[in-house]
């Protein structure tokens, strides 16, 4: 095959995919804003996306906070700067690790689940059946998941932030010999509202990415069980990479001044 033809074909396929994805995203967002709103289904999705992710997010946050305290303590002793531990733990958790690790964990759980469910509905023609019953699949399937993820991820991350700081506190006071009252005072004195809200903004964006990737890959899956399987994999991989990329971009915007 002619090399130019090959490059051309790849470019065209890439452009077609980009176009399809942009169209899907636009349509998904528009249907979040446009009735009919299936409020009962939004609530159910918030339960399954948000509430049932709590154990996962809570546990990872706890251990992340704990290990952060340990590492900073080890690093800090080299400069006689152990007292920095509470401050760095709270800043690290709220600004970066809370949203990013929480987002990645939820991506693994939720993007996969969404892609598998919607993908199965696609290959068993349930999505076609929805359409023939005068129900728009964007309103009924996609909007509720996007809305639920964007609303619940910041809540999850906020709870994760608290648990993460607690993890740092427990490790510091139980095994590193910090005074509990001083630890809490140092945490509270140095953390600012902006540190927390910037992390929550990130979480909302990550929620959007997680639900969008699950929906997009599920919606376009084809070819039976195998197709659904690869849609699930793509959804998790794409969501994770996009979360890390978006995190970089948002960090450079949010903390630029």
């Amino acid at each position: 095959m002619n090399i130019f033809a090959a490059i051309g074909a790849i470019t065209l396929a890439f452009l077609a995919e980009t176009g399809r994805f942009s169209q899907f995203t636009l349509s998904a967002v528009l249907h979040c804003l446009r009735p009919p709103f299936f409020v009962g289904i939004w609530a159910r999705q918030m339960m399954s996306i948000g509430y049932y992710s709590l154990p996962v997010v809570g546990l990872t946050a706890f251990f992340t906070g704990g290990v952060l305290a340990l590492q900073i303590y080890i690093g800090g002793t080299r400069f006689n700067a152990e007292s920095i531990v509470p401050t760095i733990v709270v800043l690290g958790i709220t600004r970066e690790l809370g949203p990013v690790i929480g987002g990645l964990m939820v991506a693994g759980r939720v993007s996969a689940a969404i892609a598998a469910e919607i993908g199965t509905m696609r290959v068993t023609e349930q999505i076609d059946a929805l359409t023939t019953l005068s129900t728009n699949p964007f309103n009924y399937l996609i909007a509720p998941r996007l809305i639920a993820a964007v609303v619940t991820l910041p809540l999850l991350v906020f709870i994760g932030d608290i648990i993460g700081v607690m993890g740092g506190f427990i490790v510091s006071t139980q095994s590193l010999g910090f005074n509990p009252a001083t630890y809490i005072k140092n945490t509270a004195d140095f953390v600012e509202v902006g540190d927390v809200t910037s992390g929550l903004w990130k979480a909302a964006v990550f929620g959007f990415i997680i639900a969008l990737m699950g929906c997009y890959h599920g919606f376009h899956s084809r070819g039976g069980a195998q197709g659904v399987g690869s849609a699930t994999t793509y959804a998790v991989v794409a969501a994770s990479i996009l979360i890390l990329a978006a995190n970089y971009v948002m960090t450079s915007i949010l903390f630029s001044d």
Binding site: E125, D128, A129, L130, L133, T135, Y140
Partner: protein, 258 residues
């Protein structure tokens, strides 16, 4: 010409990549008529239905419903057009997250905005019509046999009393008695609703029972169509081979190539 046809296809083409599935299909279904399309596996019968339903867009050609061009409509206009339709999918396509009765009531609750209680009564009534009892209504579709799923699919297709009903292989995978029960149900519901139907099948017994007209799809074209009673004297070798299910004849299955 008398009344406007309920459904009309004009030179509909559809390909998937290099593979041409529909290659200029022309078809009309008159109001109140029951048309059955027969044809081998993989000849594009389901694709044709999906084009009419707007689940796929044809590459070329036009589709008219009640004389209106619906080939490329979308959004609200499509949802409006869908209200005329009921569809039984080949694989039933029941929503596995909902119990049986909610599957049947789905179009009534979501599409027509009926109250749940009211929709449930109608759903129970339709389920009774297809011979399913109240306790089945509470089960999830995964707990049903294939034949029961088909019947639920049928109940869902007729739940909103549509003007036009599509049946994609209503009897495949059913035992002969149940197949005949389904055929009876189709004939009855069409008579009760005065609906127009377009069915697809390879089951000739079923075709003879439910059809007023029969059309045969082969290699992307309608190669024969006519009144159901003429099916045995078409003089068309393709049709003859198909209705008698002979391996020898002009239709060569891919597997038989030496």
């Amino acid at each position: 010409m008398a009344a406007t046809p309920k459904i009309e296809l004009k030179s509909v083409h559809k390909s998937f990549g290099p593979k041409t599935v529909l290659d200029g299909v022309n078809l009309r279904v008159r109001p109140g008529e029951s048309l059955v399309v027969i044809g081998g596996s993989g000849t594009g019968k389901s694709v044709m239905l999906k084009c009419i339903l707007g689940l796929m867009y044809p590459d070329k050609g036009k589709i008219f419903i009640d004389g209106e061009d619906t080939t490329r409509i979308s959004g609200r206009a499509r949802e409006q057009a869908m209200r005329k339709f009921g569809m039984l999918f080949q694989g039933a396509a029941l929503f596995d997250s909902l119990p049986v009765w909610e599957n049947v009531a789905f179009g009534l609750i979501r599409g027509r905005k009926l109250r749940r209680g009211e929709a449930k009564d109608i759903a129970m009534d339709k389920l009774a019509k297809v011979g399913l009892s109240e306790d089945v209504a509470m089960l999830s579709p995964a707990e049903l046999s294939g034949g029961m799923q088909k019947r639920v699919g049928l109940a869902r297709a007729i739940a909103a009393d549509p003007e036009i009903i599509f049946f994609d292989e209503p009897t495949t995978g059913l035992d002969p008695i149940m197949a005949d029960v389904i055929n009876e149900l189709i004939v009855d519901s069409v008579r009760d609703l005065g609906a127009t139907t377009l069915s697809i099948t390879h089951d000739m017994a079923s075709a003879r029972k439910i059809a007023d007209h029969i059309a045969m799809l082969y290699k992307g074209h309608i190669i024969w169509s006519g009144p159901a009673e003429d099916i045995d004297q078409t003089g068309n070798e393709y049709v003859d081979q198909f209705i008698h299910g002979r391996a020898e004849g002009p239709i060569q299955m891919e597997v038989r190539r030496p």
